[in-house]
């Protein structure tokens, strides 16, 4: 009796795994000797079979059922950190308008007369200093005041920063790449700054591109809401958030006028940098051209 390719084909799997009974094995081998196509098929199956030896059944079982407790803990860890703290930042373009939530937990005062603008939240942080604009280098002190608001994950941020190969500070937008970044410094004559208890505004001469960013925090996650105007629909944009201590995150990527914007035209995304640690926002095109920088005083 001769065996057909179809019959042999079905036996090649168990043959490749060495599970075929001896009598059938002989039949298969006889067919294989005269059939190049079935030999090629066997070769493929044997190749697949070699992968089986790389793992144990226990491995497969673990992969199939990762401990759900870990997910629960990750989610509930977030829940515990959820706070009612709310920070409103109104930032207008090429410039900044920084409105620190009037009548909310936040007040703004100009405590470091020349360059710095301290932002303080009555509770729980006594005085989370943020760095105004791009002039961060000279004012690195006083950061520890923000510690009380730092959620449990913040220390990991620091640890992680070490692991990240690039220096976050060096990624700050350079003045040459962003007309707005020079106008960001409170001491810069190009910008006008009005300080009120609840709001800080500044405007530069261009103002073609405008953005308003609002940040709020819940469960340790900062929600950032950005309304960007003066940028053509269809432009792919990237929102980056910079924080003190070299924190830096890409909070999201979206298309202007696209589906990612909500009904009011805002792009809403999240970052894990707490609002009080945010030093600036940057909106750039997908290709990296900075459209606008929104420093937080």
């Amino acid at each position: 009796m001769t065996t057909t390719c179809d019959e042999v084909r079905m036996s090649l799997g168990v043959y490749a795994l060495g599970a075929l009974e001896p009598d059938e094995r002989t039949l298969v081998e006889t067919h294989l000797a005269g059939c190049a196509r079935c030999r090629a098929e066997l070769e493929e199956l044997t190749g697949v079979a070699t992968f089986l030896g790389k793992v144990s059944q226990a491995d497969v079982a673990q992969v199939a059922s990762p401990p759900g407790a870990v997910l629960d803990r990750l989610l509930s860890a977030g829940a515990r950190r959820r706070r009612t703290t709310r920070l409103m930042l109104s930032l207008a373009a090429s410039v900044l308008v920084v409105g620190l939530g009037g009548g909310t937990l936040w007040t703004v005062s100009q405590s470091q007369q020349d360059v710095g603008t301290a932002v303080s939240a009555p509770q729980p942080a006594a005085g989370a200093e943020t760095e105004a604009g791009q002039g961060a280098d000279a004012r690195s002190g006083g950061r520890e005041q923000g510690e009380t608001l730092r959620d449990p994950g913040s220390s990991q941020d620091d640890a992680q920063t070490k692991a990240a190969p690039s220096s976050p500070t060096s990624r700050r937008p350079l003045p040459s790449s962003s007309p707005s970044s020079t106008g960001a410094r409170p001491s810069d004559p190009e910008s006008q700054i009005m300080l009120a208890p609840s709001e800080v505004r500044a405007a530069d001469r261009r103002g073609a591109v405008r953005a308003v960013a609002t940040a709020s925090v819940a469960r340790g996650v900062t929600t950032v809401r950005v309304v960007l105007t003066g940028v053509a629909d269809g432009t792919r944009c990237r929102l980056r958030v910079f924080g003190d201590g070299g924190l830096r995150q890409t909070a999201g990527v979206w298309t202007v006028g696209g589906a990612a914007q909500d009904a009011s035209g805002a792009f809403v995304t999240t970052t894990t940098i707490p609002p009080e640690r945010i030093t600036s926002f940057e909106i750039a095109t997908a290709r990296g051209r900075v459209l606008i920088t929104l420093p937080v005083p």
Partner: protein
């Protein structure tokens, strides 16, 4: 904003669903302790979640494995700074850099197997991992011998696809 919580949860769930299994398996093998493995997985995913930047432009899986492995190494060092013998022993289970790639691959294989249909996994378990013959497997599974053959064949074909999906070409 409730949306934030939802988006946030979605990200955590996505990370966990996509990488939790292989990551846990890998870490469990390093630590040999499920409690510690869970802690390391949790910490690793937390870092990934907090640092989406770190994940761009490279293999997320390799990044996660690297972070997890470093956490395990750190734990070993912290634990064994007193008795050096224990430390050497403990560190011996931590793979060298070049083994990372192999670990990522192995766990992708496990993942590919886990993605197979249950009857395919089942027949491979009998025929390959238990080393049973077609007849023995047929008896164990209560199915005809012919079905063992065809199922094994289709299981290997499906595995080939699952491996290819993960960039592992047999």
């Amino acid at each position: 904003m409730s949306q934030a919580g939802t988006a946030d949860e979605q990200l955590v769930r996505a990370l966990f669903d996509e990488h939790g299994g292989p990551l846990y398996g890998y870490v469990l093998r390093l630590t040999g302790d499920s409690g510690r493995a869970e802690d390391v997985v949790q910490e690793t995913l937390l870092r990934a979640w907090r640092h989406p930047d770190a994940l761009t432009g490279r293999s997320i899986r390799a990044w996660l494995f690297t972070v997890a492995r470093n956490l395990v190494v750190d734990q070993h060092r912290a634990r064994s700074s007193r008795p050096p013998e224990t430390g050497d022993e403990a560190l011996a289970v931590v793979p060298a850099e070049d083994e990372l790639e192999r670990a990522v691959e192995s766990w992708a294989v496990a993942e590919a197997l886990a993605a197979l249909r249950p009857e395919h996994r089942e027949v491979l378990a009998e025929v390959y991992y238990q080393g049973k013959s077609v007849r023995e497997a047929a008896d164990a599974l209560g199915i005809p011998a012919g079905t063992v053959k065809s199922r094994t064949y289709y299981a290997l074909r499906a595995l080939k696809l699952a491996l290819e999906e993960r960039g592992l070409a047999p």
